[in-house]
């Protein structure tokens, strides 16, 4: 039987506010346990929440970016359940009236087509604390530093049809929230977490199959693996004559499998009701207009512009626009050297591998966009060859100065003086007289191969500085001569 996968995602994005959603505690990651837990975060009796304006602004920005309706009157509700990392015994969230309503996001698939994914809603809520399971005499330890950190929960429609699509969608959301400056996107620290609702159905069937929810998957790679694994598990179950049961599952990256979270399965009845300590949040039309005017250029728009303005391929444009920092870097290089294709190549190949090797983000790059742009200018004006440029680039990365300084200091300036090159070639040919003889007595096919040998010797003799084009021409002339 042919199976179709149906996926809907719930993404929790931690909003990068300075303080928590309802208290004045800091949200800094990695502080000593419970040092960022205020009276309110600890749910001390008598404490009350006051909503952070920045969390509202960030949620509205997201709503505008996905072309969604913003809830003019949105309401906070309490989701009641007992858990030690939830100090109040309820999570303040939004239920019937979320701040962001129906919207959509267009994602680029690998084959270059664009797919529109519906976004059901996005709502504000508070994060929970953390339970630490190291053994404290058979007890767990509770750290409430994270409790009350603002989250935007972004719920997609079940529009996604494969693990790859799911990853593409999460990557697009990731890029978008970073462009908007509302979430740092650091998945390792849990700033962006994903719950995957997965079901399968026979191809052509309209009704959805029973879904399982895989909780808290936090890397692009794990999303793909967890979904693929879960899809296979469900297909195996059904083909074996069993049934998928609706449940919450956990992905174990070490074993590459999902397993049932029975502890969360006991009949949950969250008893949602409007939070009486908070009033409805009104979003004024003027406020939204103002925000709209402050929206930055978004990834899709930027990608399109890179193609049309710079003539980049769709692939290059999408890579370079994937993050705001990457796009800014590229544009800065382009501005300095005025050659988009060279700039794109250098950013995507040499710079990317340098950053990758040292595990750096582009904003930590040891080579600034200005430096790289200046270096490309030296390629364009033939001061250095592309090959030498790689050496210069490495030296810049090592902090040895600007391109010009390095070229000067290391004497890397390309030799273009014909007589100097000729003299050098004469020496090379003299030193390899036997090969010259052989060359001259060979047929065309063999000559072609041997010619490379002479070019290599010549470039070696010039320490790579001789203009390769001139070397080629003059060498040919002399050998044929």
């Amino acid at each position: 039987m042919q199976w179709e996968t149906v996926i809907g995602l719930e993404i929790h994005a931690q909003l990068s506010t300075r303080s928590k959603i309802f208290s004045g505690s800091a949200t800094t990651f990695g502080a000593a346990p419970n040092t960022q837990a205020s009276l309110l975060d600890l749910a001390m009796p008598g404490t009350l929440p006051v909503l952070n304006a920045e969390a509202v602004r960030m949620a509205c920005l997201f709503g505008l970016a996905i072309d969604a309706e913003i809830g003019a009157k949105n309401v906070f509700a309490r989701k009641n359940y007992f858990y030690p990392d939830l100090p109040k015994g309820y999570q303040t969230s939004q239920m019937d009236h979320p701040i962001v309503g129906k919207g959509h996001l267009d994602i680029a698939l690998e084959d270059g087509t664009i797919k529109r994914i519906g976004i059901t809603r996005a709502h504000l809520e508070e994060d929970a604390g953390k339970s630490l399971h190291e053994d404290f005499h058979g007890m767990s330890g509770i750290d409430l530093n994270r409790a009350g950190t603002p989250l935007l929960e972004i719920v997609s429609e079940p529009d996604i049809r494969s693990a790859k699509e799911a990853v593409a969608y999460v990557k697009s959301i990731h890029a978008l929230v970073r462009y908007l400056g509302i979430c740092d996107g650091n998945m390792a620290e849990g700033s962006l977490r994903c719950d995957c609702n997965v079901s399968v159905r026979p191809k052509g069937q309209a009704a959805f199959g029973t879904r399982a929810e895989i909780k808290n998957v936090n890397s692009f790679r794990f999303i793909e693996k967890a979904i693929n694994h879960e899809v296979q598990r469900q297909i195996d179950l059904i083909e074996d004559g069993s049934k998928v049961i609706q449940e919450t599952r956990l992905y174990d990256p070490n074993k590459d499998e999902t397993r049932s979270m029975r502890s969360k399965e006991e009949a949950n009845d969250y008893r949602y009701f409007p939070c009486p300590d908070l009033l409805p949040v009104t979003i004024e039309h003027n406020y939204l207009q103002q925000l709209r005017s402050e929206l930055p250029e978004l990834p899709a728009q930027k990608c399109e512009r890179f193609e049309s303005q710079f003539g980049l391929s769709a692939y290059d444009a999408s890579v370079l626009s994937a993050s705001r920092e990457m796009a800014n870097y590229f544009e800065q290089v382009q501005r300095v050297c005025d050659d988009a294709k060279l700039a794109a190549n250098w950013v995507m190949v040499e710079l990317a591998s340098l950053l990758n090797k040292d595990g750096l983000e582009i904003e930590q790059s040891p080579v600034s966009a200005e430096q790289l742009g200046d270096m490309i200018l030296r390629i364009k004006d033939s001061t250095i060859s592309g090959k030498i440029a790689k050496m210069v680039f490495e030296a810049m990365a090592a902090g040895e100065g600007s391109a010009d300084e390095i070229i000067e200091k290391k004497g890397l300036k390309q030799v273009t003086d014909s007589s100097a090159i000729e003299a050098m070639l004469d020496e090379v040919l003299a030193a390899n007289a036997a090969q010259v003889e052989q060359y001259r007595s060979s047929d065309e096919a063999k000559r072609g191969k041997m010619f490379g040998f002479f070019v290599g010797q010549a470039m070696k003799a010039s320490k790579g500085k001789a203009n390769p084009q001139q070397v080629n021409e003059l060498l040919k002339h002399k050998l044929e001569g």
Binding site: G24, L39, L51, F136, M139, G141, S263, L279, T282
Partner: protein, 95 residues
């Protein structure tokens, strides 16, 4: 809608209240008395009436995004039942 013993047990579990077996019949009876009083409101015609959650129907005030809290862990944990290394201790949480 009279509650049965099993309903009371379910409610008590949701509310994480331990129940005394001996008190259960009495608790069930009292809860049913209270629900009997409450059920009088089912006779009221409320068609088309908007629910009222807050008496004043004001709107939420927002606070500026500023860190105003300092670390007062020692003071706050001085009144905690069980702490170690700055963490609150609870019986093992099983995921």
């Amino acid at each position: 809608m009279a509650l049965e013993r099993s309903d009371v047990e379910k409610i008590a579990h949701l509310a994480r209240l331990g129940l005394d077996e001996a008190e259960l019949p009495r608790t069930t009876e009292t809860l049913n008395d209270i629900l009997g009083l409450i059920d009088h409101m089912q006779a009221v015609d409320t068609d088309g009436i908007e629910p009222l959650a807050h008496p004043l129907e004001a709107t939420q005030r927002l606070r500026a995004d500023e860190v105003t809290e300092t670390d007062r862990r020692n003071a706050y944990q001085a009144i905690a039942p069980a702490v170690e290394d700055g963490l609150y201790l609870v019986p093992k949480v099983i995921e």
